[in-house]
C-alpha cells in the first residue's frame, strides 16, 4: 500500500503508523473496568513515548522508517484462512492443546483446548468484554511500558490473547501450542495480542508460541508475553517467528523467576522483513535460573534485532545464554545482551555468548554483549564472534569427498543445529531443521541430514 508524503507526516507531524495507532487507541472502551484502567495506563505511556527512533540507545541499529510509513488497520476484516492453509502452517504431532489466533484474535473453531486437570486456559477477549470477570492481579505488571513503547501500545489495546495458569504441583506433559496466524487484508493489519503465563509452585509446563504469516502482507504483529514462575516451577518457552518476509514483528517477553524456579527460553527467528524482540528476565530469588537459547537465520534484506536482558536480583542465581545468527545476502542482525548483577547478588553465574556466521560479504551484524556487575563474588563470562565458516573443517569434509557447496551447507546447518538441537519437542525440532535448511543457499544437499539419527 503506497502512502504519499503528506499522509506520511499525518496531521500532527506524526508518522502514518503512529497516527493509525492513536486512532486505534481512541477506539471504543471495553466492558471490564480493570481492563479499562490497564488500557488507559498503556495509552498514556504510549502517548508520552511515541514510536522509538534510532536516537534511542535501545533502537540505535533498528530503523523503523518502513514500519512508520504504514497506516495499520486494527482488527479489520480479513478472509478466514482455509483449514488446509492452517494445517500446513501448523506444527503437527504435538499432542497438547492448540489455540489458533488469526491476526491476534482467538478462533475457537480452529482450536482445541483439551480441558485438563491442573491447567487453566482462558482466551483473554472473553474476560476483557465481561464486566464481571476478574483479571489476574499481576496482568501487565511486567515489561515497563515506559521503556518499551510497543508494550505500552499493546497494553493500551489490551483485548486479545490468552491466560495460562498451572496449579501448584501440576506437571503438564504435553506442550500448549499457541499458533498466531497473520493474514493480509485490504490494508496492512496490526494486532496486539498478549500471552500471560502463571506457573504455580512446583509446576511444570511447556508453551510454544508460533508466529506464521499466510500470504505476503505487510502486517504488524506486536505481541507481549508475560511469564511468572512461582517457587520451584519450570517453564519451557519456545518462540518461533516465521512471519511473511514482508511483515513486521515486534515482541516483548518479560519473565519473573522465583525461588528455585527455572525458565528455559528458545527464541528463533526465520521470517519478517523487520523483527524486534525484547526478552527480559528477572531472577528475583535464590536458586532462580534461566537458559536463553536463540537463533536468527536470515536472508534477503531481513532485519532482526534481539535485545535480551537478565537481572540477577538475588544470590545463587544463574543465567546462561547462547544466541547464534546465520546471515546471508544483505540480511542484518542485531544482538544486544545485557546481564546485570545487582548489589548483594553474590555467588551468581552469568554466561553469555553470541556467535554469527556471515554467508555473504553484504550481510551485517551488530553485536553487543554487556555485563554490569555490582557484586564481588560472581562468575561471569561473555563473548561475541562474527565470522565465516571454519576453513579447516571445510577442507576436512572436502578431503572426504563431499563437494564444497555441500560442505558449506553442512557446516552452516551444524552451527545452527547447536541451538535447534536443544529443543526437546521433536516435531518442533524437525520443523526448525527444515526451516534452517530452507535458509541455506542449497538445501537439497543436506535434506537427508534432517532428522537423521542413524
Amino acid at each position: 500500500m503506497s502512502q504519499t508524503a503528506a499522509i506520511d507526516k499525518g496531521k500532527a507531524g506524526l508518522s502514518a503508523a503512529e497516527t493509525a495507532f492513536r486512532q486505534s487507541l481512541a477506539g471504543p472502551e471495553v466492558a471490564n473496568t480493570a481492563a479499562s484502567a490497564l488500557r488507559a495506563a498503556g495509552n498514556a505511556a504510549f502517548a508520552t513515548a511515541g514510536l522509538p527512533a534510532i536516537r534511542d540507545e535501545a533502537w540505535k541499529y533498528t530503523n523503523l522508517r518502513t514500519l512508520a510509513r504504514r497506516a495499520f488497520d486494527h482488527g479489520g476484516p480479513v478472509a478466514a484462512p482455509d483449514a488446509a492453509a492452517v494445517e500446513s502452517a501448523a506444527i503437527g504431532g504435538l499432542g497438547g492443546p492448540r489455540l489458533v489466533f488469526v491476526n491476534g484474535q482467538y478462533v475457537a473453531a480452529l482450536s482445541d483446548l483439551q480441558i485438563q486437570k491442573g491447567l487453566d486456559i482462558a482466551p483473554l477477549a472473553t474476560l476483557i468484554h465481561d464486566p464481571g470477570s476478574e483479571l489476574p492481579q499481576s496482568l501487565c505488571r511486567l515489561g515497563d511500558p515506559g521503556r518499551h513503547p510497543f508494550s505500552a501500545l499493546n497494553q493500551g489495546l489490551l483485548e486479545h490473547g490468552v491466560l495460562l495458569r498451572t496449579h501448584a504441583g501440576a506437571v503438564i506433559s504435553d506442550p500448549i501450542y499457541l499458533l498466531f496466524l497473520s493474514v493480509p487484508g485490504a490494508a496492512p493489519q496490526a494486532c496486539h495480542p498478549r500471552v500471560f503465563v502463571d506457573s504455580g509452585a512446583d509446576s511444570s509446563l511447556s508453551v510454544l508460541e508460533h508466529y506464521v504469516g499466510l500470504g505476503s502482507g505487510q502486517n504488524l504483529t506486536n505481541v507481549v508475553t508475560e511469564i511468572q514462575l512461582q517457587r520451584g516451577s519450570r517453564l519451557r518457552h519456545y518462540r518461533v517467528q516465521d512471519e511473511a518476509a514482508t511483515a513486521f514483528h515486534v515482541g516483548g517477553v518479560f519473565a519473573s523467576v522465583g525461588r528455585d524456579a527455572r525458565l528455559e527460553s528458545h527464541n528463533l527467528h526465520f521470517g519478517a522483513a523487520l523483527a524486534r524482540l525484547d526478552l527480559e528476565v528477572a531472577l528475583n530469588e535464590p536458586g532462580a535460573e534461566v537458559e536463553m537459547n536463540g537463533l536468527y537465520c536470515l536472508g534477503g534484506r531481513q532485519h532482526v534485532d534481539n535485545h535480551t536482558r537478565v537481572d540477577h536480583h538475588a544470590a545463587h542465581t544463574r543465567s546462561e545464554e547462547d544466541y547464534r545468527g546465520v546471515l546471508n545476502d544483505r540480511a542484518r542482525g542485531v544482538f544486544n545482551g545485557k546481564a546485570i548483577v545487582h548489589e548483594d547478588a553474590q555467588k551468581i553465574e552469568a554466561h553469555q555468548s553470541n556467535s554469527n556466521l556471515l554467508l555473504s560479504a553484504q550481510a551485517e551484524v551488530d553485536t553487543k554483549p554487556e555485563l554490569e556487575i555490582y557484586a564481588d563474588d560472581v562468575k561471569c563470562s561473555h563473548g561475541a564472534t562474527v565470522g565465516q565458516l571454519d576453513q579447516t573443517a571445510l577442507f576436512y569434509l572436502r578431503s572426504r569427498g563431499i563437494d564444497a557447496e555441500a560442505a558449506k551447507a553442512l557446516l552452516t546447518f551444524a552451527f545452527a543445529e547447536a541451538v535447534v538441537g536443544r529443543i526437546d519437542l521433536e516435531p518442533v525440532r524437525r520443523r526448525l531443521e527444515t526451516a534452517v535448511a530452507g535458509a541455506l543457499p542449497d538445501r537439497s544437499l543436506i535434506e537427508n541430514l534432517i532428522g537423521a539419527d542413524t
Binding site: A393, F395, Y396, R398, S399, R400, G401, A406, A452
Partner: protein, 250 residues
Amino acid sequence: MLSINNLQASVGGKQILNGLDLEVEAGQVHAIMGPNGSGKSTLANVLAGREGYAVTGGSVVYRDQDLLELAPEERAREGVFLAFQYPVEIPGVNNAYLLKAALNAQRKHRGEPELDAFEFLALVKDKMKLMGMDESFLNRGVNEGFSGGEKKRNEILQMAVLEPRLAVLDETDSGLDIDALRVVAGGVNSLRRADRAIVLVTHYQRLLDYIEPDFVHVLSAGRIVKTGDKDLALELESRGYDWTREAASA
C-alpha cells in the same frame, strides 16, 4: 599409481618442497621420514589439495591423471585419502552422517549404487569392530571431544570404510600410547592390499615396528635425499637425521 616429479611447493610464501621425486606402485607401503620442517606434512597436504599450499613447479600424476588439477573432493572420489595429523572436530555433524555422505559421494562418482541406511550400518559396524570402537561413537559429533587416540582411530576407520587406492597417513602415530598405536597399526595392516598403496609420513621409526614398509625415504629440506628398505629406518633411529643431510650435500 603415483608419480611425483620435481615437485616444488610453498606455504605462506616460504618454499618448502624443493624438487621432490617419488614413485609409488600399487601394493607398496612407503614411509617418508625426516626431521621437523623437512616438508613431510607439506607433501601430505599438497597431495590432498589443501588450500594455502601453492605448487610452484613439478608434477604429480595419479593413475594417469594430473592430480594437481583436481579439487580436494575429486581427489577423494578418485580414491586418494589423507589421514590428518590433527583431525578436525566438527560439532553438529555426526560421524555416521559424515561417513555415509563420504562413502556415497565416492560410490556415486564410480557409478555404483548408493548404500541405504541398513547396508551402511552393517558395513560400518563391521569396520568399527576392526578398530575396537564402540558403536555409540556413531552418533557423536565428528571427533567432538575425542581423545588424541580416538581421533587417530577414527581416521583409520574412515579409511577402512572408504577403501582408498592411495592412502597418505600424516603422522598417524603422533600422540598415541603404545596400545593405541597397536590398534591403529593393526587397522592399517589389515588394509594392505595388492591394489592399494600406502604412504606413511612419520617422524619416528616406532610406527614401522608395527607396519613394515617396502621402502623408506628420507626427506630433507624438501627433497628425498636417501631411499632404502626398512633397515634404513632403524639406522635413522640409531644415528639421527644429520648424517643423511651430510650424505646428500656431499
